[in-house]
């Protein structure tokens, strides 16, 4: 079965042009009101809810034949979700795909922001499971919308208060709520709070798509983003005791990898492209020679 036969009958990037226009209107509104959740008529996609239907629809609406697409899932280019979505767009739009952060014009992501600083010619598309930051505090959608309209965000701090009273510190580590451009409180999707500082004053356009919940929101380039906190319990990111075991990088977000059944483990960059690039440039971590990822040929 050849590529051209299997995709004939489908429009460029799967969605029909009317749908793309509808989604683009929602995106424009989202950019005009940073952090505001714009409702849109989310379509059925050929994948289950929770697999990135929102992000895929946003990507499909902004992608053009000249774009270069990168898809990551938890920082990695080679997990099922990332591979499937990359193949989906390669097949339905024929665009070039890449795993290099530098080379991409559109990066669709789940749960991470790339370590490398993004540029003005790039768009970061997030997959969002639950866009409403107040959802678990206030179950009524009518009420949360009113709270957003009136900028009544005391409740968000009640959640942080509860964290401190229970754990002695703010224990929220991912989907950490942020205030965008001094107005709307927004859920940055389940990225680790380690990535929160990167989404503020970012050169790239950031778009958030929630397919099941039918919402799109955005952070325009160079927008102020503040992570909520208390004066005496300021916002802090996670820190790691050791550098990446493969490339020796500090100040990056690390994944824990179990090595055997005897408690052996290592910590490696969650951003696989960043790690590979550093190793190609000659950086070495403590375990880089002893794993299948190490350059055995050298």
């Amino acid at each position: 079965m050849s590529e051209t036969v299997s995709t004939s009958g489908y429009n460029f990037a799967y969605l029909d042009e009317q749908t793309k226009r509808m989604i683009r209107r929602a995106i424009l509104k989202a950019i005009a009101i940073p952090g505001y959740q714009v409702p849109f008529a989310s379509r059925e996609m050929p994948m289950p809810y929770g697999w990135g239907t929102g992000g895929v629809q946003v990507t499909a609406s902004v992608i053009g034949p000249d774009d270069v697409l990168k898809v990551i899932d938890q920082g990695s280019d080679d997990t099922t979700n990332a591979v499937s979505i990359r193949k989906f767009f390669a097949r339905t739009s024929g665009v070039e795909t890449t795993t290099k952060t530098d080379a991409a014009t559109i990066i669709q992501t789940r749960h991470r922001v790339p370590e490398k600083e993004l540029g003005e010619d790039q768009i970061l598309v997030y997959q969002v499971p639950i866009p409403e930051p107040l959802r678990f505090l206030e179950p009524r959608e009518t009420e949360t919308r009113r709270l957003h309209a009136l900028a009544e965000y005391g409740l968000m701090h009640v959640k942080l208060y509860e964290d401190i009273s229970k754990h002695g510190h703010i224990a929220t580590t991912y989907a950490y709520p942020v205030e965008v451009a001094g107005r709307y409180v927004m859920d940055p999707s389940p990225i680790p709070k380690f990535d929160n500082p990167k989404i503020g004053n970012c050169a790239a356009l950031q778009l958030y798509g929630a397919g099941r919940e039918k919402r799109i929101y955005a952070i325009p380039p160079y927008t102020e983003v503040k992570s909520l906190d208390f004066e005496d319990h300021p916002f802090r990111v996670q820190t790691f005791d050791e550098p990446c075991a493969l490339c020796g990088a500090d100040n990056v977000y690390l994944d824990e990898v179990l090595l055997d059944d005897c408690g052996g483990r290592m910590f490696v960059c969650s951003d696989t492209d960043h790690c590979e690039e550093r190793r190609a440039a000659g950086h070495r971590g403590p375990l880089s020679g002893e794993t299948p990822f190490g350059e055995a040929a050298e």
Partner: protein
């Protein structure tokens, strides 16, 4: 001489054919406690809802004197202004504590919520204020991080009081705050409310069907029947020398212990 804190004129509310409140007018001055009594279904709670602008009246108006001395009609407030008013200058103690509290959130968080809503962002200060208020309503400080789900009925009501009074409101609405509690708990709660009301100079509108509660707390009293106010006056006067036949019936129906 300054005018009343709250003035209601000809309030009317119907639910379909049923008239819940018919042409009710009242004045409430600062530091004054007004009891609204009457049998179930007489329109007491609807009146409280109208005054607290939780229910929209069919006719009539409610004027309130703000802290800056300006008198404004409550229907003319925007939603944002109304919300600021209800969480700073007002309190509302509900009969069912589960409606007045956030049940999944700790006692300290419940008391601190209003402080955070008006912009306080210092955890230590918020917690200190919450502890202070829990002590004032006689809740053991060891329970500050417990959910109100684990509290008894009396403790829940006291927590509601702390949660409402933390921003130093000037007017508190109470809807049957002591019903459903056993008598000894009731007595302590009433004692606490009476102490706080006189200490803080609160104006209170309290709805109750319990004449003993009204006698203990209130300065003035309104008796309602079928959505109308049939008698008003000083509490002692109404209870000791009721004029209307219905009020006489109400007073004589109280069981002597």
């Amino acid at each position: 001489m300054r005018g009343p804190l709250l003035r209601a004129c000809n309030l009317r509310k119907s639910f379909g054919l049923l008239t819940a409140c018919a042409d009710i007018s009242l004045d409430l001055h600062e530091g004054e406690v007004l009891a609204v009594v009457g049998e179930s279904g007489s329109g007491k709670s609807t009146l409280l809802g109208l005054l607290a602008s939780e229910i929209r009246a069919d006719a009539g108006e409610v004027r309130y004197r703000f802290r800056d001395g300006e008198v404004r009609e409550l229907q003319s407030l925007s939603e944002a202004e109304r919300r600021v008013l209800t969480r700073t200058d007002w309190g509302f103690i509900r009969q069912d504590a589960t409606q007045g509290l956030r049940m999944p959130i700790s006692a300290g968080g419940n008391v601190g919520e209003r402080l955070m809503a008006i912009g306080q962002r210092h955890y230590g200060n918020i917690r200190a204020t919450a502890s202070d208020w829990l002590a004032r309503v006689e809740i053991d400080l060891e329970r500050i991080d417990d959910s109100p789900k684990t509290f008894s009925g009396g403790m829940r009501q006291r927590l509601q009081i702390a949660r409402n009074l933390v921003t130093h409101p000037r007017l508190v609405f109470m809807d049957e705050p002591t019903s459903g509690l056993d008598v000894s708990v009731q007595a302590r709660l009433l004692d606490l409310i009476r102490g706080l009301v006189s200490e803080l100079g609160l104006a209170v509108i309290i709805v109750t069907h319990d004449l003993a509660v009204a006698r203990l707390l209130s300065h003035r009293m309104m008796v309602m029947k079928g959505g109308r106010v049939i008698e008003t006056g000083l509490t002692d006067q109404v209870l000791d020398d009721p004029r209307e036949p219905y009020t006489q019936l109400l007073v004589s129906s109280v069981l002597a212990a």
